[in-house]
Every structure is written in structure tokens, then in C-alpha cells.
């Protein structure tokens, strides 16, 4: 058993290294503005956010819909702290260059983005985490909307540039950057889930009363899960801001949260790899593979019916309904995609073949 575990670890490490090489090659080969690149970059960013949401919704059982709000906080924190001093006058043209007159290196900005999001989460959590299930969802959704309105408030313009966009902060061109950040963050979340804290989160999800009777401090652990989830959502928001090169609060609508929730549910609540796989599938389908449905197609003189702008979304909705109907626990359920799992799958098959 131990031996196998060790070999599995090595195989996993090799696979991860191979993935790095693939990403490096893709970085060189794919056109930087092509649709494939867009999907991959968005996939990296949103898979981090989806995993952070899964930590809260899937592993701790707290049904929260505030993810877009925390991404917004992260994105804005990053942008505000990293816009170069010489660019501030043109960005904050209506607010005399704003009040922040320094610029931090980009990596400090990213970490700060997570920290500020976690801090706000802690404050919001004080009243909100006393609520349960649907009520918690409504309250967090409300807070996310308030945050969005707050960041567009004119009086805060010297900090947030009001309803105007922030721009000219450092961004990234390569695919490697979001990939590396996402891998590090997701690895951190996986380590957390496999620790005794992670077990406590899952115990709370399974049965709050029993968890409390075992001596797990519910309030403390819920708050912790909420803050950590928001921390990584904040980092995801910073990555999104970098990817877009501009950021505007009005874009962080509740739709964004629903999209992420959809990804988490499709991937499977309680499955990290499920969330990651679902993210890439989701963006590949919605932005790329189903594109052809939006353009009219003529075969000879015959015009294929139904194909017109917007039809893609119809097909996409149907696919999602089918998934929800036939794979109720999502693509992965609460299983993980792992080397050990694959080996077990094949060894079971072999046994079956041998048996039949």
C-alpha cells in the first residue's frame, strides 16, 4: 500500500511536470489572441475561483453566493495598488489622480488582493454566517450586490475611480502565469482539505450537531472556510483583472456567481478535479466549440434551420439540463481524478474480464 502510494505520488508529479511543458509549448505555439488561448487563460482563472467556491459550498456545506463580490474586491485591490504612479493622472482623470500615490510590485498586489477579500469576508461573516442554507445564500448574494454598488459610488472615486474603469496596471501576456498561480493556489486548497481542518469542514457539512458534539467550534471553522474561500476568490479576481487589462465594477454581476456555481455543480460538489475539468469544458463549450451554432449555414441552396445568433446559448442550456438530469451529482460526484483512482479503475476492469 505504502509503496503504491509513493509510486502514485511520483506519477502525479511527472504528470504535473508534463502539464507544465505542454503549457510552455502552447504558450509559444498558440496565437496570443486566438480563441484557444482565451479559453485556456479563462479556464485557469475560473478554475481557481470554482475550486474556492467548492471549498465553501461543496466541502463546508455553506451555500454562499458572494463569489463575484469577493472577486471584485480582489480585482480592485490589485488594480488600485499596482497602477504605476506616472499613469495615475490619466486613469483617475476625474479625480485628480486619486489618493493612492504609490505602486506596489504585481505579486504584492496579488497577495494583497487575497488578503483584503479575506478581511472583508471576515467582517461580512460576523453577521451572515449565523444564517443557514438559503438564507445564507440570499444574504451573501445581497452583500455581493452591495459591494458592487459601493465600488461604483462617486464619493469613493478617489480610490475606486467611481464607475469608470481602472486600467494601465501590470498584466500578463503568457498562459504560464495564470497557470502557475492557479496550480499553486489549488494545491494549497487541496492540502487544506486533506488536513484535519478539511476533515472538520466536511464533518460540519455532513452533520452540524454531531460535529459540534465532537468539539468542533462551528462558528470558528465556518468563518475560517469563508475567509479562505474568499482569499482565493480575491486572487482569482486579481488574475481576471490582469487578464482583462481593464476592470470595472459593473461587470461583476450576480450572473458571474451563477456561472461559477453552475461550473461547481456540473463538476460535482465536493470534487476539486471535477471543478477544474468542468471549468475548462464550460468555457470551451460556451466560447469555442458551440460557436458554429451562432452563424448561419448554407448547404447548397438549403439554409439549415435554427442556426442563428444566440442559438448557441439554447443548445448550451439544453446540455446543462441533460447533465443535471442524468448526472445529478455532477460529472465527478464527490470523487477525485487521481492516479490511484485510474489504476483502481483499470485493475477492476481486468478482474472483471478475468472473471467473465
Amino acid at each position: 500500500m505504502k509503496e503504491k502510494k509513493k509510486s502514485d505520488m511520483i506519477i502525479s508529479a511527472v504528470l504535473l511536470a508534463a502539464l507544465f511543458v505542454v503549457v510552455a509549448v502552447l504558450d509559444k505555439r498558440l496565437s496570443a489572441t486566438g480563441i484557444a488561448m482565451t479559453v485556456l487563460k479563462k479556464g485557469c482563472i475560473y478554475s481557481l475561483v470554482a475550486v474556492s467556491m467548492n471549498l465553501l459550498n461543496g466541502f463546508t456545506g455553506l451555500f454562499s453566493l458572494g463569489q463575484a463580490g469577493f472577486m471584485l474586491i480582489g480585482g480592485y485591490t490589485y488594480a488600485i495598488l499596482t497602477i504605476p504612479v506616472e499613469a495615475r493622472n490619466s486613469v483617475y482623470q476625474y479625480f485628480d489622480g486619486g489618493i493612492v500615490q504609490f505602486a506596489l510590485p504585481f505579486w504584492v498586489g496579488i497577495i494583497a488582493a487575497g488578503c483584503v477579500a479575506a478581511l472583508i469576508a471576515w467582517l461580512i461573516g460576523l453577521p451572515v454566517l449565523r444564517l443557514k442554507s438559503d438564507y445564507l445564500a440570499i444574504a451573501t448574494l445581497g452583500f455581493a450586490e452591495i459591494i458592487r454598488a459601493f465600488f461604483q459610488w462617486d464619493k469613493l472615486g478617489v480610490l475606486t475611480n467611481g464607475s469608470n474603469m481602472l486600467r494601465k496596471y501590470p498584466s500578463f501576456q503568457s498562459l504560464m502565469f495564470p497557470f502557475v498561480v492557479a496550480v499553486i493556489c489549488i494545491a494549497a486548497i487541496v492540502l487544506l482539505i486533506n488536513s484535519s481542518y478539511g476533515r472538520a469542514f466536511m464533518a460540519i457539512r455532513d452533520d452540524e450537531v454531531a460535529a459540534e458534539a465532537m468539539g468542533i467550534n462551528l462558528a470558528h471553522h465556518k468563518r475560517m472556510s469563508f475567509c479562505i474561500s474568499s482569499f482565493f476568490a480575491g486572487i482569482g479576481g486579481a488574475l481576471l483583472a490582469m487578464y482583462q487589462t481593464t476592470i470595472q465594477a459593473s461587470a461583476f454581476k450576480s450572473n458571474m456567481t451563477y456561472e461559477i456555481l453552475l461550473i461547481v455543480v456540473i463538476g460535482g460538489l465536493g470534487s476539486i478535479t471535477g471543478s477544474v475539468v468542468a471549468t475548462f469544458l464550460f468555457y470551451a463549450c460556451s466560447e469555442w466549440w458551440l460557436r458554429f451554432l451562432d452563424s448561419e449555414l448554407m448547404i447548397g441552396a438549403f439554409k439549415v434551420p435554427l442556426l442563428r445568433s444566440g442559438f448557441r446559448k439554447v443548445v448550451f442550456s439544453v446540455i446543462i439540463m441533460l447533465i443535471v438530469l442524468f448526472a445529478r451529482k455532477g460529472l465527478m460526484g464527490d470523487k477525485e481524478f487521481s492516479v490511484a483512482g485510474i489504476r483502481e479503475f483499470f485493475s477492476k476492469r481486468k478482474k472483471k474480464e478475468a472473471g467473465s
Partner: protein
Amino acid sequence: MLKINDLKVNYGGIEAVKGISFEVKEGSVVTLIGANGAGKSTTLRSIVSLVKPASGTITFQGENIVGKSTDEIVKKGITLVPEGRRIFPDLTVLENLKIGAYMRKDSIKDDLEWVYGLFPRLKEREWQPGGTLSGGEQQMLAIGRALMSRPKLIMMDEPSLGLAPIVVQGVFDIIREINKQGVTILLIEQNANMALKAADVGYVMETGRITMTGTGEELANNAQVKAAYLGKARK
């Protein structure tokens, strides 16, 4: 070891426990028997602070523990095996047991072996999700999970609930075995027959009050108890 004095608990607007006093001596098995709604569960839940008592004192090893948080009380050495087992269905047997030891920072290897020694069946099912176990196995897991915190006092809320008679016998054998190994036990039961047989001291609870006290044997032979709980006709 545990002393309850004039404990009153309100539960959802009604006075569920109306001033009870009793004592659990170190190393003993004490049982509270009584019908549904007598306030037995509420008493246990208030000892570990899952519900807050309205008044009265609960003293554990000379220290008043009323108002302390549940995790503090668990740390002091009291655990509750909740009614209806309430194991974590999506976690494996091993993970369930590890959660039981959550409050401890030291090594749990010996305790795992101890629990697996008491319940060999759990060892066999180490990697199975708790929800896939049978009722009896889940009860073993619930007891094992509570033992993982190395409690001085373990409180069990209806461990025989919904189990076949032969399995109930097994559960009570285990209770005696655990007691022999030095763990004090407070047991509440509707299965008065089994509980009184296992107990050194018994208390009968009726609608929030303790109405009778005695050794297990005395109560088991008491005419009133027999009529009310043991299903024998009054002579």
C-alpha cells in the same frame, strides 16, 4: 465526577427539565430511563452545552462547566454519542474516527488500535464511507468516534435505538467492556431492561423530574418501574 444540581432547561418555550439533581461517580455506569419527552436527551445535551441551561449547576471534577463552550467541555473529557448515531455519512470510517480525536493534538495511533480492538468490524471497513455501514456498525462507529477523544465520561443517548435485539446485546457488552477499561458512562435509554441490567445506579425521569432512584437491580425489581417501563402487569 459529574454532579448536576437543580438543573432547569427550557427547550423551545417549554420547561423540558424542571430542576433535577443527580450524580455520576467515577468508574460507574449510570442510567437515566424514562419515556419519550421526559427530558433525558435535553439533560445530556445541556451537559455538553449544546443547549444552554436556564439555571442550576453542572460540576465536572469539581469545576462548574455551565456556560463553557462545547469544545472546551469536550477537551475536559466529556463526550456525547448523539441520539440516532449521527455519524458523518460521506466521510470514511477512518476519517470519522479522526474527527472524534479532533480536539487532541497528540498522537492518536494507540487509540485507533484500541478502538479497532474493541470493534474489529470497523477495521475491516476502514476505507468505506460511514453512510454505507449497517445500523449496528454505525452505532459502533459512533461509540468508537466518541472514544477517540479519550473521554473520562462518555454519555450515550439511546444506543439501542432501532437496532435488532442481538445487536443491542452486542452494544451493551461493549458498554460494559469500555466501563471495565476505566471510562465512566452515563447512559440514557428507553430500553429500561437492558439499561438497568448494565447500570450501577439508575434514575427514572418523568416529565422533566427525577421520580425514583436506586441501584440498577433495585429499580429493575421495583413494581412501578416494571409496570411503566418493563412491560409487566401490576400484581
